[in-house]
Symmetry: C4
Subunit: 223 residues, 4 copies
């Protein structure tokens, strides 16, 4: 609605209302569809309890991914608070970012399957590496988002500048490096170790989501 006036030749800026609504919709669906992996197990009459307890790995994969998507939503929430308008270019980067969110459903299903059923160690290695690589690839659009903001500072919210945006880039770079490390651990050392590494990574993102906001507050206040 309130479009900051554009210099001739620059792409027009629009309100972030629809970008926000669309993104929230995608996050809400992904975080809900995760539960579809929780199926009523096939079982012989009278053995429901036993069958439920046997699919523990499915519950772990579900909780892991619920936490992950939740953290991604929190980070996205913080991300969009940095800007006061969007352009076609930024909308594209946001779509790329959502691609990463949507895709996570697939490695989650592969992970749950490999650890649940007749999976061999080799299959588990493959599943852990797939999950970690998908998570690492998911960092790329966040970098692109910050890079775009650096080139278009007029999109930044009040009181934010390029130096602040540059500082934010540390997180996705560190995230990418750690996920690749996790993939290597899971492949060359032990798939269970890789799984644990993924859990640690999600925790890291959760804690730095808080951190990102702390930094922001600190910036605003006279030191």
């Amino acid at each position: 609605m309130s479009e900051p006036e554009a210099a001739p030749g620059t792409p027009p800026v629009s309100d972030i209302g629809r970008m926000t609504g669309f993104s929230d919709g995608v996050f809400a669906i992904v975080i809900t569809l995760l539960v579809i992996e929780l199926q009523v197990p096939e079982h012989r009459p009278g053995e429901l309890l036993h069958a439920l307890l046997e699919q523990v790995s499915v519950y772990v994969a579900f909780l892991l991914s619920f936490g992950y998507v939740g953290v991604l939503w929190l980070n996205h929430h913080t991300l969009l608070r940095l800007i006061r308008g969007t352009t076609v270019g930024l909308n594209w980067i946001n779509l790329w970012l959502l691609l990463g969110v949507v895709i996570i459903l697939f490695p989650t299903a592969v992970l749950a399957d490999a650890f649940a059923h007749a999976g061999t160690d080799r299959d588990r290695q493959v599943a852990v590496v797939l999950y970690a690589l998908a998570a690492a690839a998911m960092s790329a659009p966040w970098l692109a988002f910050f890079a775009y903001l650096r080139r278009h500072p007029r999109l930044l919210g009040e009181g934010l500048d390029r130096a602040f945006v540059s500082a934010q880039r540390v997180r996705p770079v560190v995230g990418m490096a750690l996920y690749l490390t996790t993939a290597a651990l899971g492949w060359f050392v032990n798939p269970i170790l890789g799984l644990a590494g993924i859990g640690v990574m999600i925790l890291f993102h959760a804690l730095t989501s808080e951190g990102l906001r702390r930094w922001r507050t600190r910036r605003r206040m006279p030191a």
Copy 2:
């Protein structure tokens, strides 16, 4: 948008717009996905009616859970009217609360399955207890929400104070106790009784959802 000024060191407060939109999305998807349990029954030609009538337990589980999610949405609606801003901490508690909402799809499916098909009494006990335990566990984040508000009264909406928030805690505590009682009834006495208990519990939440608002109105008016 309109951020209440924060004292140094306290987490920044943000608008509840996205928290609301995201939560509504999750509630809308969960309440709709419940219908997926309603499958066209396999049947011999000409016996569709018979086959439809045979899966009554599936319809009951669907209606029970539709009512439950509906009540949860109404309560969440009332809950968010208490606050005028959110923080990262409150966003986390809200995610935890949504985890409970999303998970309900799983015990619902287990319940429908156990009462429909080849389920033995033991399987039905397991299904009722699972449902009741999930519902009891779901009360925890509501308690955490109220506890957080008590510690951060600046998030409270106009005219609300700590004493009011404390009074609200009665409901989830009572709910948790009653669900655990229901689980015990379903396991030690009779699964059908447990099922009835769940229905009563949802009704209790529906009535106290109204109650919560009554209290609120009363508070506002000079007695």
Copy 3:
């Protein structure tokens, strides 16, 4: 936000923002999930085209229900424009109304199945009657909505009064009667005729959706 002041003892009125967002979410999911009935047909190599053409009844059921949910959304859109606030009671009626919208996925699947596969005429009768009864039952919450508005005129938008609301009740009553007639036709005369009747009914709702708004305009203008 802007709460009309309530007389003591009346339920508090809240903004319709969340009611609208939640309802739109449910409508969006239902109208999209309809497409899940469109499955890639099993077929022998080289016979995909033949297999696609064979499931015409599935496409018809999909289009019928897409049109139906679309019309329901338009009507709901018009309905919520009548009010300027909501209460717990009206939220409950809205949930009941959404139950009808969500449930439609089930009779749609039954209809598609009965006309597609090994369905006998008896199965098709059952499917048509189930669809028509579900549609007739769906009119009840609309009546309840109007009845509630008549008893709580302070919820009505500017320039609307009880007489206007009373006039709106004609439509769900007529709809209910016609759906029951359709069910009878489908059962006692011919299932195909019943199917055609359902199509006519959806058209009727589509046209009176426009009609409802026309009336509204007429009311506003000096005759």
Copy 4:
């Protein structure tokens, strides 16, 4: 809310808030449901990696359609920025437009199936033609949208006129022609060529989405 005053006899104009929210919901669900085509492949123990690599065609169909729905959302975003209000007629056209968006899930599944499994060349031709025809048909409601705006210029946003709307019609017409060409290529020449053509088409829409906005900007500025 802010209704432009209507001349007697013209349909009433309403706020586009719900049209936007409902559309965003549909787009969000469709773009997320695409991932459901990505299934954990059945495989013998130890052969997960091999099985994952074998379903490359499924990944291509997923990415193709993710890009497509993303582009459609961007175009819809631009489309709704042209208007400042909606009518029942425009709501109908928007529903028709969403029908095209929802349906895309079906040809995507057919395409993935035909190129993945036991599909013969004939099946692949059928799948490519189905996808291209669906995409071509999807252009019709966009034309209807522009035609409606030409007849009801009072719905246009500030600074936009009929001549501008007429210019926009070029894109869906060109799109329709190119999709039909692609269908012919896929059928008479080679299905792989048709698949490539679809990819090119989506790119064309992506680039002209940007173009549409450029034009708009240019219009606003004194040349």
